[in-house]
C-alpha cells in the first residue's frame, strides 16, 4: 500500500503582511510536516503553489523552499504543475527555479506533433505511479491545450495513473462559480485512477462516468476574501492523503488551518448612518474575536446619510484592538436611500476587475474580434495581470521595464512585431 498527498492553491504570498503571512506559510509548513510524519510516498501540487509567477516577497519563497527541501531530504518527491497564478506567459516562473534546484518535478511534459498535444508521463520511482499534468493559463486559456490533447494515448497507459490539472470543470463547478471559465470533463483522458485538481477553492470529491475520482483539495489556508468567508462559514481547509495500490483505496482530508474564524452578517436596512455606526460598534464590542480571523458582511439600505459616513476603519480597529488576527469587512451590499453610492468594496479584486472590463469592453471600437466581447475581457485581464507584477528586488528599473514589455507583448502575441 502506498500513499500520496494532493494539495493545490496554496497561494504563497497572497497574504503579504504580519500575522496573516505567518499563518499562510504556517499552513504550508504544517502540510509538509504531516507529509513527513505520515511518510507519504510523494506529493502532488496541482497548481498555484505561489500567488504570482515571480514573487517579490522572497522571504516567503525562502521559507517555502526550506520546507520543500526538508521534505525532499526525507525522500518524498514533489510533483507539480503551474496554476493560473504561478504561470507566466513568457518569463521564468518561480516553479521553474525550484524545479531546476531539484526540489520539485514539473509533470507537464508536452510535445506538439502534427497539431496534437502529446503528454509524456513521469513515473514515480518508488511506487511506479504514473503522473501526467496540464498546466493552467490565465482566464482558462489552457482550454486550447485540452482541445489538442491526445487522449487515447494517455488512456492506453497502464498501471496506477494520476492526471493533474488546474482548471474548473463545467460539470463540477459550484453554483457560485458558474461564470468561471471552465472545461468540460469530456476533454480529459478517461480511465485515470485519480484526477488531481486545482483552481476551485473548495474541497470536494466527484465521480462522473469514465472519471471515477476527481478531487479538488481547495487552498491550505486562504488567498482571497471569499476563501476567508467560506472558511469562516465552516469550509475546511487542507489537503488529501490518498492511499492506493492497484487503484485508490482510501481518500482522507487533512486539515491545515489552525486559526479560528468568526463570520457575522448585518442588515442595516432602515438605520441611518449614525445609528448604523453605533449599532455596529456595540455589536463588535460583544464579539469574541481574540486570536480569530473575522469576516463580516454588511448589507441593507440606509434610511439616511451616506455609507461613507460610517467610519469602517474605526470599526475595524475596534476589532483589532480586541485581538482579531485579521478583519475582512464586506460592505458591497450596503447602500443608502439618500445617495446611490457605487461601492465595490468587499469583492475579490479579480471579480471587480472582470466586472469593470465587461462593463467597458463595449466602448472599444475595433474590428479585431479578439479585442471584442468575452475574448477582449480575457485578453485585458491577462494583460492586467502581467502588468501588475511588482519589480523584483534583484532587477533594475530598465530590466523591469523590459520584462513588462516582453510579458505584455507575449500576452498580445505581438512578440517581435516591433523589433524593427
Amino acid at each position: 500500500m502506498h500513499q500520496f498527498a494532493h494539495m493545490a492553491d496554496v497561494h504563497l504570498g497572497a497574504n503579504r503582511h504580519g500575522k496573516m503571512a505567518e499563518l499562510e506559510i504556517g499552513a504550508f509548513a504544517r502540510a509538509m510536516d504531516i507529509c513527513i510524519t505520515r511518510k507519504v510516498d510523494f506529493i502532488v501540487i496541482s497548481g498555484d503553489l505561489f500567488h504570482v509567477g515571480v514573487p517579490s516577497d522572497l522571504n516567503t519563497v525562502r521559507q517555502a523552499v526550506a520546507k520543500m527541501r526538508e521534505v525532499t531530504e526525507h525522500g518524498i518527491p514533489i510533483y507539480a504543475i503551474y496554476g493560473s497564478h504561478d504561470y507566466t506567459p513568457t518569463s521564468t516562473s518561480i516553479i521553474d527555479v525550484i524545479d531546476s534546484a531539484g526540489l520539485l518535478t514539473k509533470i507537464v511534459r508536452p510535445q506538439v506533433i502534427d497539431g496534437t498535444l502529446k503528454l509524456e508521463c513521469v513515473e514515480d520511482a518508488r511506487t511506479g505511479a504514473k503522473l501526467v499534468g496540464i498546466s493552467a493559463r490565465r482566464m482558462g486559456l489552457e482550454r486550447e491545450y485540452y482541445d489538442m490533447l491526445d487522449r487515447e494515448e494517455l488512456e492506453r497507459l497502464d498501471g496506477f495513473k494520476i492526471f493533474a490539472f488546474h482548471s474548473g470543470i463545467d460539470e463540477l463547478k459550484p453554483e457560485y462559480l458558474s461564470r468561471m471559465d471552465s472545461i468540460p470533463i469530456s476533454l480529459f483522458p478517461k480511465g485515470f485512477d485519480y484526477y488531481a485538481g486545482g483552481h476551485v477553492h473548495q474541497h470536494s470529491e466527484h465521480h462522473l462516468p469514465g472519471y471515477d475520482r476527481i478531487v479538488f483539495p481547495g487552498p491550505l489556508f486562504a488567498g482571497y476574501g471569499r476563501d476567508f468567508e467560506f472558511t469562516a462559514k465552516g469550509e475546511r481547509r487542507g489537503f488529501y492523503i490518498v492511499s492506493f495500490d492497484q487503484t485508490v483505496t482510501d481518500v482522507e482530508f487533512v486539515e491545515t488551518v489552525l486559526v479560528e474564524s468568526v463570520y457575522k452578517e448585518y442588515n442595516l436596512t432602515g438605520f441611518n448612518s449614525s445609528r448604523a455606526q453605533d449599532t455596529l460598534a456595540e455589536s463588535f464590542s460583544r464579539l469574541d474575536v481574540d486570536g480569530k480571523i473575522v469576516v463580516l458582511k454588511i448589507r441593507g439600505e440606509l434610511s439616511g446619510g451616506k455609507t461613507s459616513d460610517i467610519d469602517f476603519v474605526h470599526l475595524q480597529n475596534l476589532l483589532y484592538a480586541r485581538g482579531a488576527v485579521d478583519v475582512h469587512l464586506g460592505r458591497r451590499g450596503l447602500t443608502s436611500a439618500d445617495y446611490a453610492a457605487i461601492t465595490v468594496a468587499g469583492e475579490d479584486v479579480t471579480v471587480i476587475e472582470e466586472r469593470l472590463f465587461k462593463e467597458n469592453v463595449g466602448t472599444v471600437h475595433t474590428n479585431i474580434t479578439e479585442l471584442q466581447g468575452d475574448s477582449g475581457v480575457k485578453l485585458s485581464l491577462e494583460l492586467l495581470n502581467v502588468l501588475k507584477e511588482d519589480k523584483n528586488p534583484a532587477e533594475n528599473k530598465k530590466e523591469y521595464e523590459a520584462r513588462m514589455i516582453e510579458d505584455a507583448f507575449g500576452v498580445l502575441q505581438l512578440k517581435g512585431a516591433f523589433e524593427k
Binding site: 463545467d170 469530456s186 479578439e370
Partner: protein, 530 residues
Amino acid sequence: MEELEIIGQIIAGKVAHILIREKTDTKIELGNLLVAESRNGSLILQVHNLFYGSQVSREVLELTAGLELEGRGGSLEFFDESLRNYVLAEARAVALVSGNRVTIPKALPDFFSSVRHVINEDLQFMDVPENTAYLGKVRSGSNVLDVPVRLNAQDLFTHHVLIPATTGRGKSNLVKVLLWSVVNDDNLGVLVLDPHDEYYGGRGKELGLSNHPDAKDKIRYYSLAAPAGTNTLVINLKSIMPWHIEELFNLTDPQSEALYGYYFAHKKDKQWIEAIFKDERPENVAPMTAAVLQRKFKTALGLDVNEQGDLICYNRAFSATSGESTLSEMIAALESGMIVVVDTSRLSDKAELLIGSLVINEILTKYQRYKQETGSSGVSKLEDKPVVSIVIEEAPRVLGADVLSQGGDTTYSTVAREGRKFKIGLVAITQLTSVIPTTVLANLNTKIIFGNEMASERNAIISSAAQDLKEDYATIGSLDKGEAIVSSIFTKFAIPIQVPLFDDYVAEYPSRDTPEDKHDIHLKPNRRVV
C-alpha cells in the same frame, strides 16, 4: 422573358373552387402552383383536386370502353380526342403578387384566362435572405422550385411551432435542417430535448449539428456519453424544487404536502431529496407517504441509497455533489443565443421532462423579470435578449388533454399560452395532434405538416391551421417523405415545401468564412485599437 407554356385555361368555378381545363400533353398535379396573369398582377393558384372531363356523354364513353374491352371495337378512336377528352383541375387562388406586394386574393381571376406553371421568378417575394429559419424549397406538386422558404426566426419561434407527423415522414430531418439554419442567429437560443440523440451527431459517420462550422461557439451538447469537448449531463439535486416534481407525477394532496414538508425542513441546505431517501422524515409526513415518494423518485430519476447510506443516481444524470452549475450554464448559453442540445436518450420520460421543466422554469422566471426591468437604453431589458425556444418531442406528454386535465397547467402549457409575451416559444413535435386541446393548438401559430393518413389527425391539424386547409385533406394524406405544407400566420398562404435531406443541405452549406488574420492578430501589428 421567354414565353411561358400555357398549360390550362380557367373555365368555370367559384371562390376556392376554380375550374381549369388542362392542355393536352401537359401535366397538372395535385398541389401544383399555377399562375393566372391579370391586370392586378399574377394570381397564384393551388390545385387541390383533379378529375376527368369529356365532351362525350357518359353513355357513349361506357359503350366505347365496352367495345374496346370486348374486342369488337376494331380501330375505334375518338374524333379530335384532345379536344373532347381532358383533365380538369380544381384550384383555389392563394396569393396575388404585384411587384413585391403580396395580398390575399379577394376576386376571381379573369374568366377564361390562361394559366401556366409557377416559376422561380413568381415567388421571389418569398426569398428574404435576412430571415434565417430555413424550412426547405417551394414545391409545386412533385416539382421542387429553386425558391427557399425562410421565415423570420424570432417571429417563428416566439409564436410556437407544431410539427405533426407520423414516423418516417421526415420530421427529425426537418428539425435538424431548421436548427442548422439558425445556429448563427444570435437573437435566438434553442433548447432541444433529444430523446433519440439524433440531432447533434458527433459520433461515427452520421452528420448532425456537431458538423456545423460554428458548432464549438454556438452549440452546447449535454449527454451522459459526451464526446470530447461536449458536456457530461449532470444536474444537481439542489436544483430541483417540489413544484417541478408536482408536474411530473399525479400526486395526492398528502403526497404534495409531504414534498413541501421535506422542502421546508431542508430549505437552507436544499438537501430535501436526500432527506426523502435518508429517512429524515418531517413529523407531519406519514411513513407510507414517504415510502411512496421514495419509490416515485427511484423509478423516475434512478435515485437510491447505497450500502454506505450515500444517495446515488444509477443513470448519473442527477447528483447530490456535481452539476451545481449545469442549469446556470444552460441558461447562460440560451441567453447568449446558443443552441443547447440535451441528449435524454438514456433517461426515463420523467427525467427528460424534469430537465426541460427545470430549464424552462428558470428561463421563464428570468425573462419575466427582464420584462419588468428597464435597461440602459430606457426600454425593457427583455428587448435585448434573444428569443428562446424549446424543442420537445412527443408533445402530448406535456400538452395532452389528459395531462392538463389531471394536473392543470404544466410549464410547457404555460409557455404555449403566454410564453410569447416573454419571448419564449415551443417547437412541439407530435404524431398525435388530436390529443392536444384546441386552446393550446390555437397558440401554435406555425404548423409544418407532414404526411399523415390518420383521419382524426388530419382533421385536428386542418381545424387548427392558420389558413383554411379543408381542401387539403387528401393532399396531407398523400404527402411523401420530406414533403410538407407550412401553414403559418407569417405566410400569406399554406406553402407546399420540400425539406432537403440534412446531409445534402449540409453539403451545400458554405464553409466557414475565415479571414486570414481572424485568429492571428500578431500578423497585423499595425492594427490600432480605435
